[in-house]
């Protein structure tokens, strides 16, 4: 193992990371590292490859070149273990089951942080009283909140959040910010994508900018 015993390696490190789909580069060689306690915003226009980057970092897609190190260890699907929690566009939960059942399953699969229960997590995201509600009866924003509750439960050090602010009302946006802050404070780290940088209000986060590969034509004129 490369891990230097004297100096703690960064939680996540990307070296010359690039991804190409069918030989067409989606995002260029990227170098960055993420220390514990950091929250980093991935910025980029529509189609610049933010979603793709998160999928690569979570191990769902394999990078075309470059490498990803987690705690100084090469990332492979097998070793991903319980280090990464991905919140994508899909909820990863069953619409037919209740919020509590869904969270219990997530805990069974991913383990649980000490000192928290699914019910507490639900209350933390403002869904107390919705414990026995099947997920399909919730609105778009309420579903997103349940997905956020999952993050609170599972013991993952690195959060990868794809547009966590979408569909949330202002209270929900504040909730995400508070969750991120708490997570950073207990030595977690998070990578988030968002168009609305305005949404992240607790201080200015560090940013990673993705250039759109096929530079978008400016929408200069609206035809009437």
């Amino acid at each position: 193992m490369n891990a230097d015993l004297h100096e703690k390696p960064p939680l996540l490190q990307a070296r010359a990371l690039a991804y190409a789909r069918n030989e067409e580069p989606i995002f260029g060689p990227l170098d960055f590292s993420l220390a514990a306690g950091e929250v980093v915003l991935i910025e980029g226009d529509n189609g610049s490859g933010k979603t793709t980057l998160l999928k690569v970092l979570s191990g769902l897609l394999e990078p075309t070149s470059g490498e990803v190190l987690l705690n100084g260890v090469h990332l492979t699907l097998a070793k991903l273990s319980h280090q990464v929690a991905l919140l994508g566009h899909l909820p990863g939960m069953k619409l037919e089951l209740t919020t509590l059942q869904n969270l219990r399953f997530a805990v069974g699969l991913g383990g649980i942080r000490p000192g928290i229960t699914p019910a507490i997590a639900l209350a933390s995201v403002g869904l107390a009283g919705y414990e026995d509600q099947p997920l399909r009866l919730l609105s778009a924003g309420q579903k997103k909140r349940v997905a956020l509750a999952r993050l609170l439960l599972v013991p993952a050090a690195l959060w990868l959040l794809d547009e966590p602010y979408a569909n949330l009302d202002r209270e929900g946006i504040e909730l995400v910010n508070r969750l991120l802050l708490t997570h950073a404070q207990r030595d977690g780290a998070a990578l988030i994508t968002s168009h609305g940088a305005y949404a992240y209000t607790s201080g200015t986060p560090r940013r990673i900018a993705l250039r759109a590969q096929a530079a978008q034509q400016p929408a200069s004129e609206v035809h009437a």
């Binding site: 037919e96 089951l97 069974g108």
Partner: protein, 227 residues
């Protein structure tokens, strides 16, 4: 940080899938009804002549049960893929093949087992001689888990495609032709008064093999089709 044990993960998965089956219990009955209906179609198509029906009874029941179990295979990972649960499963720290074995077991329990239970009724509809019935049941009990296991591999391969229903059938059917030949063959032999032990033993041997290998193959196929 408490990572959670693998057995806890399997238990959680089993519990969740059973809860889901219960919530969708209407859907769970569908393969059953499908098999009944396919069997019922044959008298309509062939006419009510009891002798003809008796001759084709075992084979038709086998085909109907295989088709029903097969069409229900499509849903094995479908909904998990659609809502992103499958990604979470793949990203979990536990051996994927074990988790998938749990899913396959649930699938067999909820679709194939009811089919075996109802097989005597189907046999009656087609006038299968009573003495052939036990052979039919044993053959089905060996053939359906084989089908679930082999099918799971193919489902894993096709799961990333949007509408895989029929493609899946195409992949699975050639693989289960031997199962059909031996299973229905045993019944036909019994009906003709010939010895029928050998094909059943073969089926049993394959089943043991598939129990060990199929979950591993399914996990590998799933990883291929998700990346």
């Amino acid at each position: 940080m408490k990572p959670g044990t693998t057995s806890a993960a399997c238990t959680a998965l089993l519990r969740r899938d059973l809860a889901l089956t219960w919530r969708r219990r209407g859907d769970a009955l569908n393969p059953l009804l499908f098999a009944v209906i396919v069997v019922a179609l044959f008298p309509f198509a062939l006419g009510p002549d009891a002798q003809v029906l008796e001759r084709i009874a075992a084979g038709t029941i086998f085909v109907a049960v295989l088709l029903a179990a097969l069409l229900s295979l499509d849903s094995l990972f479908r909904s998990d893929l659609d809502d992103g649960s499958l990604e979470q499963l793949v990203l979990s720290p536990h051996p994927l093949s074990l988790l998938l074995a749990c899913k396959i077991a649930i699938h067999w329990l909820t679709t194939a087992l009811p089919l075996i239970v109802i097989a005597p009724l189907l046999a009656m509809l087609l006038h299968l001689p009573d003495r052939v019935l036990p052979v039919l049941l044993v053959a089905l009990a060996l053939a359906t888990p084989l089908l679930s296991l082999i099918g799971a591999i193919c489902v894993a391969l096709t799961v990333a495609l949007r509408r895989s229903g029929m493609l899946l059938t195409l992949l699975v059917l050639p693989l289960i032709v031997p199962v059909l030949i031996f299973g229905a063959g045993a019944c036909n032999a019994a009906q003709a008064g010939l010895p029928y032990g050998a094909p059943l033993l073969w089926l049993g041997a394959w089943l043991v093999l598939a129990l060990v290998l199929a979950p591993l193959a399914t996990a590998a196929a799933l990883k291929i089709s998700l990346t």
